[in-house]
Amino acid sequence: MKFAFYPGCVARGAGPELFDSAVAVMDRLGIEWVELTGASCTGAGVLQEKDQKLGDILNIRTLAMAEQLGLPVMTICSTCQGVMAQADRRVRKDADYLEEINGYLAEEGLSYSGNTTVKHLLWVLVEDIGVETLKKTFVKELSGVNLAPFYGCYIVRPSDALGFDENPERQTSLETVIESVGGNVVDFPGKTACCGFPILLINQRNSLRMVANHTGTASELGADAMVTPCPLCHLNLDGYQPKARRQNNRGKADLPIIHLPQLLGLAMGMDAKELGLGKHLVNTKDIVGKVESIPVAS
């Protein structure tokens, strides 16, 4: 199983622990990868506000690079996943538009013909690897650990860009993974809502109200941690949780936010430090302690 790996700007910038843990976990899963180091940022929907065509050119360029390698693209970011899938859908629906976009790529010797796909690691786990094989890579059963899922908007909407009709299991993939590590799913209505990150720098008050609602509710429901496949959600839910909960009277910032690969790594018995769990703003020592106290299955 080999992928053209697109980690995204955050994993390569403000959230290096995501990149490191993903690579460590992919190794254990037997996923081979080659990083698309020449690919651009997806634009995250921001660039698309200003100029959708420009955004589409950049993302189709990334897909064309993968196509040239004969590989599907794998992301570790819900936002990148969604933004690339939306661009892909637009060109697949409109041959003239694809030709126009390809016109901008010709200079670099690139051209896209729709022969690749974009898949988040989360989907690769449930679709390509499969729960049974996945479970074989785990050495610990996280029973008694309460985990709240938090998807990130762009990996759940717009649904018609995300292949839910052909692959309905994608819609519950995060719960599936939480169950596969043996954890309890803490279900709450905010799991597919917005984390508030896109307006953090525009309307901080509203953004932090969202952070406080989601983390406060999950805490009240007994979650030990929240798991997310989106590093942008992570930035907001982790980095701004103390301020958000203080400002909105939602108690102490006590909910660690864990990247998806970090959760897998814990179940695989990897060292918490190696997984970068010491780099989060909300202290992860309680959840790490809880997992460390679970004996490795023999």
């Binding site: 290096p16 020449g38 690919a39 660039l47 506000e49 896109p198 525009i202 901080q204 980095g239 703003l281």
Partner: protein, 321 residues
């Protein structure tokens, strides 16, 4: 098919606001029955006190918006078989972000107040020379997307910003605003854009969460309309918002490096003269440094990033001509 329905009940005469009761009903329904058919059957055969609103039963009037399994829908358009499998329970609640009058009936007053806020009528400077304004077909076809809105409130129900901020004008009213901004007969375009750019709860407050696009039964795609207005507002010279600075800084970073430079984005969005915001950012930044995860001071670059810069330059020069 055998179906179970769990219905949210609220009686203003005996319950305080915010309270609710859940009633469960089990019934045998034809597989092609709609959720509305089921609710009417309950009202006619089981419990005549169940309050709900409907009229056309054909997704035209927009009066039957409710939440089905947590998502806003027109219940006359939603088939039981599409929202449940044999044996599972369908959860029916009134729409979110609206005050509840009784059971499944919500108050639409705030909804229409928001629509009124955007002056939803044409404001031409002059009378037509004779008879009526003549406009071409293309410009009317363009307006159709937003004119299809049936004012059902589904988008408002599930909007993630309205959930935390009542002042947000919201998806339906902003889509309505777009409809007048885009109408060639209107002469208040620039004033409208200026207002939507500056007013509390205006175009920059949307989080781009796609909820309204997902739930709208008429493909109005309010979020897309809002994004178009952001671009139009900027083109019309409104550059005084952190939203504008955010978009500009973001695209400058991608243009130059091929990647996003988070640290610069934060500072530039705040604005170099916004001292309290900068101090606030510095606080988070210092904590990140202590934890060993500060964004690199020298921004990371895509390999051969000059190729990305060239694409930007080409698209920008085409846009300017």
């Amino acid at each position: 098919m055998n179906s179970k329905l769990k219905v949210s009940r609220f009686d203003p005469e005996t319950m305080g606001s915010g309270q609710r009761r859940w009633d469960e009903f089990e019934m045998d329904l034809h597989p092609s029955a709609t959720v509305l058919d089921a609710l009417i059957q309950i009202r006619e055969e089981v419990d005549g006190t169940l309050a709900l609103r409907c009229a056309c039963r054909a997704s035209i009037c927009g009066s039957c918006g409710m939440r089905v399994n947590g998502e806003a829908k027109l219940v006359c358009k939603t088939r039981i078989a599409d929202v449940t499998e044999e044996g599972t329970t369908i959860v029916i609640e009134p729409m979110g972000n609206h005050g509840i009058i009784k059971d499944l009936v919500v108050s639409l007053d705030p909804f229409f107040d928001k629509v009124r806020q955007v002056d939803p009528y044409l404001q031409p400077d002059e009378e037509p020379e004779q008879g009526e304004f003549v406009v071409n077909n293309d410009s009317m076809e363009n307006l159709l997307t937003a004119m299809n809105c049936i004012m059902c409130g589904a988008c408002v129900s599930d909007c993630t910003v309205l959930e935390v901020d009542e002042a947000f004008i919201g998806p339906a009213a902003l889509a309505k605003a777009w409809r007048f901004v885009e109408d060639p007969r209107d002469d208040q375009r620039d004033e409208r854009l200026k207002e939507l750019n500056e007013v509390e709860g205006g175009i920059w407050d949307c989080t781009r969460c796609f909820k309204c696009v997902e739930v709208c039964p008429k493909d109005v795609a309010p979020m897309d309309r809002i994004m178009e207005m952001r671009d139009m507002a900027i083109e019309a010279g409104n550059r005084n918002t952190s939203g504008y600075r955010h978009t500009e800084s973001f695209s400058k970073s991608v243009k130059k490096h091929g990647r996003l430079d988070e640290a610069r984005l934060a500072v530039e969005s705040a604005g170099y003269t916004n001292i309290p915001r900068l101090i606030d950012l510095a606080e988070i930044g210092v904590k990140s440094v202590l934890k060993g995860k500060m964004p690199p001071i020298v921004p990371h670059k895509a390999d051969e990033n000059e190729k990305i810069t060239r694409i930007f330059e080409r698209v920008e020069s085409e846009r300017n001509t």
